[in-house]
Symmetry: C2
Subunit: 373 residues, 2 copies
């Protein structure tokens, strides 16, 4: 089976690495100017985007993507020619915070209180109604903390509006959460659904830095609830492939933050920590193959390498590290690789992660619930 | 680092899959006419082998190979231009049964009794001296049972000679072994050595069909001895990369059969059954990186898919299968993929392997020491 991927970054690369053993081949369409996947034919000429797209589509059996901020006109045009999984409907909802929140509400999935603001004045009013602090987020195109601002007072509305520079914002009550969790599910074209254990996510500078799965000290009832939420979402969307839901854990329970219709950074632990990686399961799902076992072997931590990879030798010297580099040029704030670490217990995992982090340039100390005794 | 691989079959492909996450890229030189690796640039024009070789060498930092039956003139010419790991010396010894046996003898590694025969008459004499049955094997170029014949009486010498069609044979006493074992070691350019647990190998039609690792019911003293043997070999050869030694387990102890200077079919279990696959460790070794953990997670069985892959769905339906297909055309006797299965115990492993084998076309029943109660 010939898989076409919209985008040619690390997610596309890791899809390809997982797919070749299933006798799949890969082509990438990415005219952004910086393809890095390096594992298949890349259609990337920015001067001939339409011709490149047609050649790409002629080459493949099924299309998927590594990035949901795609024009719907593009994805719908693709769907008229080749199967696209997940569909435009998943993209439409997941690329738009207001649509996402609406769907969460319809399905009875709690979220932080929010308002929509289409001007600085509306932003100020929303901040007053919700009570500061609030977080304003661009309705579309935001990721890794980009397109966001925190308002400590309603009077900061104009400067926040000016900094985000987007015609429509979603304004949310600031949630006093104890941690961020994510849950990843996968649904195949045949309707089969499988769900991974939840991960605990720790960010630095707005970018995911550590993910631990299964999330330590997680109440079983909360896990059941989160599984139920994502089950409702994936069924309602008729979603085919991996779907990721981010949640805040608060004193009042779980609140949905946002979702992504694709393999997700918080699921990279599955490459070494689960019998079936999220990448393999995404491909099985879109190819109509049976889904694989989503259980976790042992407590696993994923550490992102951001901006620079450091010295490979320093990481590989530690006998418990699994290094995944993306072949990307180093640049501040850019995800250039990750490390997976397994251990027999969370205590051992914390020790290993701390030891590994001392070898990673520019990383802040490991802060996670397993490390707060 | 740019890795060049001589050969572009499944071993080269699996090296590439293991190497991309270490930020390596791959080129292949294979003018045999059937490259299948599919993961990098392939230099394969049979009409321009020299030009292709030069372009290939200009492209890469270091050269390795997936097949040791290479002309020494070729490998020495390569060594004059780029580092070749393992070296021509490893190839020279490992591609030649007589040289191999001589080295085993020098290092005090026991082998079956043997003679060299360079004519049908010498073969007949060897058969009389050793006592039939004997196994005659072409001195070079044999693999997967090719170039071999069993003589039940000395009188069969002429027909055996005619069938093997090779100017020099190694004639061995027929060994009444209880099983074949293999051990895989890896040595880096820095001299670091790591060794995997031994595997038990079961053949069908002269081709490896099942490998189980760690080899069940293995006497610890025998494992220690085998580790010592391969340690001597890898040091003496100054070998860089993976080295595989096949051994017979007999009532009198372990007897060395043959070795291969490369990643080996009996090490494919390491892809899912060990923290570091043999492919990754081979690459770490030739790139001068620290070697990875060679331990086994749990009892693991590798099942070869030979001639045909069967239906992917049938295999993937079983939640404990890891499928590795090679993207090769199906053809009788050809290795087209393998499946790795892990389990918590050998008993569970035997059950799983038996269940899986019912879904593999053309496979004979699972016969292994864990299945003989």
């Amino acid at each position: 089976m010939k898989i076409g991927v919209l985008g040619a970054g690390q997610l596309g690369r890791m899809l390809a690495l997982a797919g070749y053993p299933l006798d799949m081949t890969f082509s990438f369409y990415d005219t952004s100017g910086a393809p890095s996947a390096g594992l298949g034919k890349i259609y990337s000429d920015p001067a001939n985007t339409q011709a490149e797209l047609e050649a790409f589509l002629a080459e493949v059996d099924v299309v998927t993507y590594e990035f949901e901020h795609l024009p719907l006109s593009l994805t719908q045009a693709i769907e008229s020619k080749k199967p696209l999984h997940p569909s435009s409907e998943s993209i439409r909802v997941c690329q738009n915070r207001a649509e996402e929140k609406k769907l969460f509400g319809e399905l009875g999935i709690p979220t932080p209180a929010y308002r929509i603001a289409e001007s600085a004045a509306e932003l100020e009013a929303a901040a007053r109604e919700l009570g500061c602090p609030v977080v304003a987020k661009s309705n579309t195109e935001g990721y890794d903390g980009k397109g966001q601002a925190v308002l400590r007072t309603p009077e900061e509305a104009q400067s926040a509006w000016d900094s985000i520079r987007h015609p429509k914002l979603v304004v949310e009550s600031f949630v006093n959460f104890s941690r961020e969790l994510s849950i990843i599910a996968v649904r195949s074209v045949n309707g089969e659904i499988a769900i991974y254990p939840m991960a605990e996510n720790n960010h630095q500078g707005g970018i995911l830095r550590y993910s631990i799965a299964p999330a330590p000290r997680l109440d079983a009832a909360k896990e059941t609830l989160a599984r139920d939420y994502i089950h409702r979402l994936i069924e309602r969307l008729g979603h085919v492939g991996v779907l990721t839901l981010e949640l805040f854990e608060t004193e009042d329970g779980l609140l949905a933050n946002e979702m992504a219709p694709r393999v997700h950074n918080s699921g990279h632990w599955t490459q070494n920590g689960s019998p079936t990686s999220q990448f393999e399961n995404h491909l099985r799902a879109i190819a109509g193959l049976p889904l694989g076992d989503c259980s976790a072997y042992r407590p696993t931590c994923m550490i992102n390498l951001i901006g620079q990879t450091g010295k490979k030798e320093d990481i590989l010297e530690l006998p418990y590290t699994h290094l995944h580099l993306y072949g990307k040029e180093e640049r501040p704030g850019r995800k250039v690789g990750h490390i997976n670490i397994l251990a027999d217990s969370y205590e051992e995992l914390a020790e290993r992660v701390k030891a590994c982090a001392t070898r990673i340039p520019g990383i802040a100390p490991f802060i996670a619930s397993i490390n707060q005794d």
